[in-house]
């Protein structure tokens, strides 16, 4: 075997945050093998970005030794930086430079000879599909195109080691596939070594090898298949007529011996503890016809099981109590021909949908599909240019505080006060919703306990790990026990573990009769929704139950299409039609 492209040996790194020393990496030793794609996964705050920055030589370790391509990073960071390509989470293109000018800058910085540039540019533009846009300012590109340009800039001189820090966060599924195609082509054709961190487990599953990082320590380094090996015989799917998958999931999640229960379309996927043999008759005595079907374990099962084994069993989220007027099945949101124009630009082009009480309704789509604009109109933050809308019978733009008190809104990127503590944030939102005395004390206690924020109560919100920020924002939006929830990209950038917790809570709320409208660009999260619409460029491409939408993309080659397959098929079908 060839020498490792990147080795870390007993690396430690800590930061001072708000007067406290926080350890980001705590004795990490890994070796990344050359000529293949290695994935770096782990929850938020596991130390993934720190590891990338250490390898790129823009952070120095507190202890330990890092070697990149045989060069000691501490001794000669410049030599390392000349040999690696590094794409940080926010690549930071110069938005006031054109695509070509950005490329030229990086070609200059990387010392690409002028004679060699033409061919390389052509190749990169062909791979990224940016050739028609070389004169466009980078700031005017879509999110996916920006990310592809970022990658092109990183690859302008083929690096021997490519470090990618969550390169696909917030990128639409089509661009995501294109990004991967480019990366894998580099590995295949140029023998490049790639280390990438990702929050998408399906991406990790495609890597040759995966390093699982948790709380600054390495929990494992294996091929993805090897990760799921120990789970053989421990994964099942269950479907019971008459019990909605969500309720079934809630029941199964409480059973001792079941490590993980997950809604997967109309079924529930479970992972059992080692040695636990699930018996449907005992799990669901009231449904003797219930059957468990063994399924092969996938990488996500393995990831979650590994983390849960490490942390001990997570307590299921507490039940939430909401007083809901009316009965399940009432129509609470009605949107008819809704339109929104910004100047000449039609952000939302006459969409219609209805949401019933107690439903989880999803708005799926890439960035710029018009999801957030639709949301803002529904919440009364933005006037509609045309069409009708009613939330609980009101147009929130015109109705008073009373109608607004019935909705909860969780904004994209969690609008929290970064320099207030968790408790101060909660107290502020409680006050803003007009909660007083006894009720206020009760709700604050509920938020701290129910969202397990007690340990962080005096920490500034800005210093919280992303998953905890999300919990805090969710708690704040639920302070006044709203009947209708608007959740705008609640899981963006949040790790899989935190995403599951979030969905478990949302499920519990829906069970209690709360209606939830959720936007997401994680296609697989669509499975948690009762119904959803897929949006692209302000239009609804498809609406229905997750299963129905997936079935539309069914082909002979792909009998079990994922939501992402379905989305891509819809978008491509639309492009072909126009």
């Amino acid at each position: 075997m060839a020498a490792a492209a990147l080795t870390l040996d007993g690396v430690r790194k800590g930061f001072t945050r708000g007067g406290r020393r926080v350890s980001a990496l705590d004795g990490v030793s890994i070796a990344v093998r050359p000529g293949r794609v290695t994935g770096l996964i782990g929850p938020d705050g596991a130390g993934k970005t720190t590891l990338m920055r250490l390898a790129a030589g823009i952070l120095g370790p507190d202890a330990g030794r890092i070697e990149v391509l045989g060069i000691d990073v501490a001794e000669d960071p410049l030599a390392v930086q000349s040999a690696v390509g590094y794409m940080p989470q926010r690549f930071g293109l110069y938005e006031d430079l054109s695509v070509q000018e950005n490329l030229d800058l990086y070609a200059d910085l990387q010392g690409v000879p002028r004679a060699a540039r033409r061919a390389r540019y052509d190749e990169l533009m062909r791979m990224t599909g940016l050739a028609p846009f070389t004169r466009r300012l980078a700031g005017r590109l879509s999110g996916g195109m920006k990310q592809k340009l970022g990658l092109a800039c990183t690859l302008v001189r083929p690096p021997r080691l490519l470090l990618l820090d969550e390169p696909t966060v917030g990128v639409d599924p089509v661009s995501r596939r294109e990004l991967w195609a480019i990366v894998y082509a580099q590995v295949r054709e140029a023998g490049m070594t790639v280390l990438l961190s990702t929050a998408y487990l399906d991406e990790a599953a495609r890597c040759a090898e995966v390093i699982l990082l948790h709380q600054g320590r390495v929990l494992g380094q294996e091929a993805p298949a090897a990760f799921s090996g120990p789970l053989a015989g421990r994964t099942f799917e269950m479907r019971v007529e008459g019990i909605p998958a969500r309720r079934l999931q809630a029941r199964l999640a409480d059973v001792a011996g079941i490590v993980d229960a997950l809604v997967a379309g109309d079924r529930v996927r479970i992972v059992t503890a080692p040695g636990f043999v699930p018996d449907p008759a005992r799990l669901l005595p009231d449904h003797p016809e219930a059957r468990l079907q063994p399924v092969p374990p996938d990488f996500e099962d393995a990831f979650i099981a590994r983390l849960k084994d490490h942390d001990g069993h997570h307590r299921p989220p507490p039940q939430v109590t909401v007083k809901v007027s009316g009965s399940a099945g009432d129509e609470v949101i009605r949107v008819e021909g809704l339109e929104r124009r910004f100047g000449d630009f039609r952000a939302v082009k006459g969409i219609s949908f209805r949401v019933r009480r107690g439903e989880i309704f999803g708005l799926l789509g890439a960035n710029g599909a018009g999801k957030t604009t639709t949301f803002r109109m529904l919440c009364g933050l933005l006037p509609a240019s045309g069409g009708e809308l009613a939330v609980a019978g009101h147009d929130l733009r015109r109705s008073g505080a009373q109608a607004r008190a019935r909705i909860g809104y969780m904004a994209q990127r969690f609008s929290l006060y970064a320099n207030l503590t968790v408790m101060q944030n909660l107290a502020f939102f409680a006050a803003a919703y007009g909660l007083r005395r006894q009720r206020r004390r009760e709700r604050l206690r509920w938020a701290l306990e129910g969202f397990e924020l007690g340990a962080y109560r005096d920490v500034n919100a800005g210093l919280l790990p992303l998953g905890y920020k999300q919990r805090l924002a969710f708690a704040a939006a639920l302070m006044h026990q709203p009947e209708i929830l608007f959740l705008d990209e609640p899981t963006s950038g949040v790790d899989p573990l935190a995403r599951r917790e979030f969905w478990a809570r949302t499920n519990a709320l829906a069970e209690a009769g709360v209606t939830a409208l959720v936007t997401t660009h994680f296609m697989e999260e669509a499975n948690y929704c009762d119904r959803l619409v897929i949006m692209a460029e302000g239009e609804i491409l498809a609406a229905g139950r997750p299963y129905e939408i997936r079935q539309r993309a069914r082909t002979v080659e792909n009998p079990e299409p994922t939501m992402e397959d379905a989305f891509i098929a819809l978008v491509q079908g639309r492009e072909a039609a126009s």
């Binding site: 410049l78 930086q81 590094y86 010392g111 000879p113």
Partner: protein, 382 residues
């Protein structure tokens, strides 16, 4: 994979530097705010200081209180009435005049008591009371000076007319040098060059470098073979050119539009401006390296560079009339040295001792600042 090896080390370094400079120049040209600071702001400031702000004594409203009018007082009052510096108004009594002063209808009172003529004729002391409104200390001091000047002129004529040699202990002859007509515009406009260059050099530079941190562009750039030296020079060169452009533009406007004299040599002005520009750029770079945040960098730049250049440089307020402690503080304000050079070049000509002393001070500051920039700037995130 070995494509880079056909370029020499030096060639690759030049390529990187050229790339940085080109990128920075394109950004300047596409950013309306940098062009505005370099070329629109000078126009605004020049018009403001050229036409709006005036420290000159012109038609100072002066209250005259003459308790017993006679030939002697008429002569004195006439001297004030003829002067273009004063617009005197007569008041019947001191109470009435004081009221007018309090209401700011007049800036000062000249009070001749009823025994003025008698004491003057008896050869004794003939006191004149001058009451000035001290709310605006600058204006009060100017008024006081002009009153004294007018009075002395009258006294001289009076003595000559009466054939009596005037024997004051000191004969004060007023002769204002360099700015004979005492036009404050001629004195203010050269200082503006320093203000404008401070804005471009320190504020604009501090903001644009901090912006690279804010937008995350710095992190990607750090993981390239780029040397920190190349980052610094790549930033300095375009803003140096922009700042010098702003300087030339301001000087041309000052000389041709506002008729401010330029008595010193052009090369001396160019050299001093270039040196000051480098100092201002070094301060701007240092601020942005330390703060790494656009908003904070902007605030620090205002407090540390712009306000001192305005207040403590001698641009408007005379350094020698400041309290001792503040005078010492002005020594760390680079604009102080540049304003001194500018004022001497514009109003007096090449005064080499002044020129070289101030150039030396700026050169020393530049050396210290560049050493600090070099030490603080590194390719690390911490």
């Amino acid at each position: 994979m070995k494509k880079t090896s056909d370029l020499s080390r030096a060639a690759r370094g030049r390529m990187r530097l050229r790339g940085m400079i080109r990128k920075e120049s394109i950004q300047i040209m596409r950013d309306p705010s940098s062009i505005a600071i370099a070329f629109v702001l000078p126009v605004v400031l020049l018009f403001l200081f050229g036409y709006g702000v005036s420290l000159d004594a012109r038609a100072i409203p002066l209250g005259l209180v003459i308790e017993q009018p006679d030939a002697a007082t008429a002569g004195l009052a006439g001297a004030f009435e003829r002067s273009e510096y004063f617009a005197p108004r007569r008041f019947g009594g001191i109470q009435e005049a004081r009221q007018a002063l309090a209401e700011r209808r007049i800036d000062a009172i000249l009070w001749l008591r009823n025994d003025f003529a008698r004491r003057l004729l008896s050869g004794g002391e003939a006191p004149i009371a001058v009451l000035a409104n001290g709310v605006d200390a600058n204006q009060a001091r100017i008024t006081e000076g002009y009153v004294q000047g007018a009075w002395l002129a009258w006294l001289g004529r009076y003595a000559a007319a009466h054939g009596r040699p005037l024997a004051p202990p000191v004969a004060l002859h007023h002769r204002v040098w360099f700015n004979a007509a005492l036009i404050s515009r001629d004195f203010l406009v050269p200082g503006l060059v320093a203000i404008i260059m401070t804005l471009i050099g320190s504020m604009l530079t501090a903001m644009v470098v901090a912006r690279e941190w804010d937008r995350g562009t710095m992190e990607a750039m750090m993981v390239t073979p780029l040397r920190i030296r190349e980052v610094i020079v790549g930033k300095l060169v375009p803003y140096f050119v922009l700042g010098m452009g702003g300087m030339v533009f301001t000087v041309v406007l000052a000389v041709y539009q506002f008729d401010v004299p330029l008595r010193g040599s052009l090369w001396a002005l160019g050299a001093a401006s270039a040196l000051f520009m480098l100092v201002a750029l070094a301060v701007g770079l240092l601020i942005s390296i330390v703060s790494r945040n656009q908003f904070v960098a902007g605030q620090i730049a205002i407090v540390v560079t712009f306000l001192p250049a305005f207040i403590l440089s001698g641009f408007i307020f005379d350094i020698h009339s400041m309290p001792q402690a503040i005078q010492i503080l002005t020594h760390v304000v680079p604009a102080r040295y540049f304003v001194a050079i500018l004022q001497s070049l514009f109003l007096a000509g090449d005064v080499w001792p002044v020129y070289w002393a101030n150039m030396g001070a700026m050169a020393l500051m530049l050396a210290v600042l560049m050493a600090l920039v070099r030490r603080k700037a590194h390719k690390r995130l911490e």
